[in-house]
């Protein structure tokens, strides 16, 4: 496994970090819960990009191994891809639950703005 920087492609790391910051900022700065959710998704996607960047090598090909001895430097590292497949499943499940909660919030409060939700609803018991 190559360490960061040596033999790996470095531009994706910069993009991943930029997306990470953008997602986190969106989550903090916006007061609309749906926008917070969008920020969260960008944030998670950035991490996936980061892992995929880890596996990338210059001039490497798909890790489908032929018979006989293999030079690992010629192949992309498949492990981060396998990990991210699982992480995407986790992400989709989180998104499903988040959207379900948002739909119920909207049905109850008629808005997804934080101010409208934090206050007790008009028909409070």
């Amino acid at each position: 496994m190559a360490s960061l920087g040596s033999g790996t492609v470095s531009a994706p790391y910069a993009v991943a970090i930029a997306l990470l910051m953008l997602g986190l900022y969106t989550m903090v700065a916006h007061r609309n819960l749906l926008k917070k959710f969008v920020g969260m998704t960008i944030f998670q996607t950035a991490i996936i990009l980061f892992f995929l960047a880890l596996s990338a090598k210059r001039d490497a090909t798909l890790p489908i191994l032929p018979e006989g001895p293999v030079d690992a430097r010629l192949y992309v590292n498949p492990l981060p891809h396998a990990l991210m497949l699982t992480a995407i499943v986790v992400m989709v499940a989180t998104a499903g639950v988040a959207l379900a909660i948002l739909i119920r919030l909207y049905a109850r409060y008629g808005s997804l703005e934080e101010e409208a939700i934090v206050e007790p609803p008009p028909e409070a018991r």
């Binding site: 496994m1 990470l20 986790v90 639950v97 988040a98 909660i101 119920r104």
Partner: protein, 484 residues
């Protein structure tokens, strides 16, 4: 015992199977899902206990999932610490599943199967992350438990929806930080197996390891609601339906605390010292701020939630000190607090079942047996001998004094004073008030009482039996972690 080598994975397999069966059983007999959950939780507790006994008798147990040997495959490890934590999580949850029945079945036949499927999934995730020996696998189980928990909290409707969404946002940020940290550690060492990673850390690039460690620890600190990253906890456990709070509050944060302990002490040991001081400071702040906040609350469940923030501070403080005695205190606190907090949340649920919410002082003399169990649990929170809480705090105090940190020792004692204050407030009406007259007998149903009594007995039992637990499981775990 034949098949004993598969004990480490058995509780997880049982719980996840039961979680899948719950909706299917629910199609035919919705009310039977409660029985299924109790059965699944009970079997998981028994197998986890058997695993712990096997660890005591034969030493750590390792199991390669699917027959793939580590470090390539995922490894499941039962060592003294994980066996202890798995037994705590499954044991306490088995009791809270039993007590959840009346409240859950009252919500209707349509909702009971969903509730139990999610509850079993959440518990399976928590136990899975405890026994896992693989960093990425921990993330998967952490999220399995978390996603089920978000849905469970949201099932309260109304204010619980907003609380669940906040919990989801912060929980996901925590998990994502953890994942990013794991990515950096993988980049530094090329492995995800904890034992393998610990061995390779010495020749890894230091900036990568330090960055990875920081992300992993902050992520887990969010999950364990360590002050000042605790914002999600009071909201979520105040508005969650009563049985959900009783199920999750005692164990969910403990499993995350366990993961923090494992990664900090056994994987990143060389990086630990600067983190240790920070953890002790955060833990001390949590004890004081959580305790003061709990004192100010008028809602009984919010009071209990803030007291969780405070009591988790003790765990962080012990982990931060890092000496064998302090670690024993932290581990024992996990057990003592899980049992006591389960009893208190179940009691709060019994109060809520009378209607009229859980205001401070709603627990009164009309339900003497529930109140007696809650008081026993409350005494453990304060740290009155011979309860488990006393011994946990005793070890922590000893650890703080051994480390020549009188200020930390003072915080340990001050936290007990605060706990005495908020436990008094929670039980106020028992001492100075009269019972609110209600139609019929307001005392909790038999199965809830049985669970409460079991928890109250455990509160005292942990105290009286602490020497055995500490010598057989906790001291070996702490010695191994502290490198002594």
């Amino acid at each position: 015992m034949p098949g004993g080598e598969q004990l480490p994975i058995l509780p997880v397999a049982v719980l996840l199977t039961a979680a899948v069966l719950a909706p299917i059983v629910g199609l035919v007999a919705p009310r039977a899902t409660w029985g299924l959950a109790v059965l699944g939780g009970g079997v998981a507790a028994v197998t986890a206990l058997a695993g712990a006994l096997r660890v005591v008798a034969h030493g750590p147990q390792r199991y390669a999932v699917g027959g793939w040997p580590p470090p390539w495959g995922i490894e499941v490890v039962l060592d003294p610490l994980s066996a202890f934590t798995a037994a705590v999580v499954t044991g306490v949850t088995a009791v809270t599943l039993l007590t959840s029945g009346p409240a859950v079945l009252a919500t209707g036949d349509a909702r009971a199967p969903t509730f139990y499927a999610l509850a079993l999934l959440a518990e399976g995730g928590l136990v899975g992350l405890v026994v896992s020996g693989d960093l990425f696998n921990v993330f998967v189980f952490l999220e399995l438990a978390a996603i089920a928990s978000y849905a469970l909290v949201a099932s309260g409707g109304g204010p619980a929806l907003a609380a669940a969404f906040r919990y989801l946002l912060l929980g996901t940020v925590g998990a994502s930080f953890y994942l990013l940290g794991v990515g950096l550690l993988y980049a530094a060492t090329g492995t995800l197996n904890m034992a393998d990673l610990a061995a390779r850390l010495a020749d890894a690039a230091r900036p990568l390891v330090a960055g990875g460690a920081a992300f992993v620890l902050v992520g887990l600190a969010i999950k364990m609601a360590l002050f000042p990253l605790h914002a999600w906890l009071p909201e979520a456990y105040t508005h969650a339906p009563a049985p959900v709070a009783a199920l999750l509050a005692p164990v969910a944060t403990k499993a995350a605390a366990y993961a923090l302990a494992r990664v900090l002490l056994e994987v990143l040991r060389p990086e630990a010292p600067p983190v240790g001081a920070l953890l002790t400071a955060a833990g001390s702040a949590a004890i004081l701020v959580g305790g003061l906040q709990a004192l100010r609350q008028t809602d009984g469940r919010r009071l209990l939630a803030y007291s969780s923030v405070s009591q988790l501070g003790y765990v962080a403080l012990g982990l931060g000190l890092g000496t064998p005695v302090a670690l024993v205190g932290a581990y024992l606190q996990v057990l003592a607090h899980a049992v006591a907090k389960a009893a208190l949340f179940v009691a709060a649920g019994a109060v809520a079942a009378r209607g009229g919410g859980v205001r401070v002082g709603a627990l009164d003399r009309a339900m003497p047996r529930t109140a007696a169990c809650a008081v026993a649990a409350g005494l453990s929170m304060v740290g009155v001998p011979p309860t488990g809480g006393f011994f946990a705090k005793w070890y922590l105090l000893q650890g703080a004094l051994e480390a020549a940190q009188p200020l930390v020792a003072a915080v340990v004692l001050g936290g007990s004073l605060l706990a005495a204050g908020y436990v008094y407030r929670f039980t106020e009406r028992l001492w100075v008030g009269t019972a609110t007259p209600t139609a019929g007998d307001p005392e909790a149903p038999a199965c809830v009482l049985a669970g409460l009594v079991a928890l109250a007995v455990a509160v005292v039992g942990v105290g009286l039996g602490n020497a055995v637990i500490v010598e057989r499981l906790l001291l070996p775990a702490a010695r191994g972690a502290a490198g002594g």
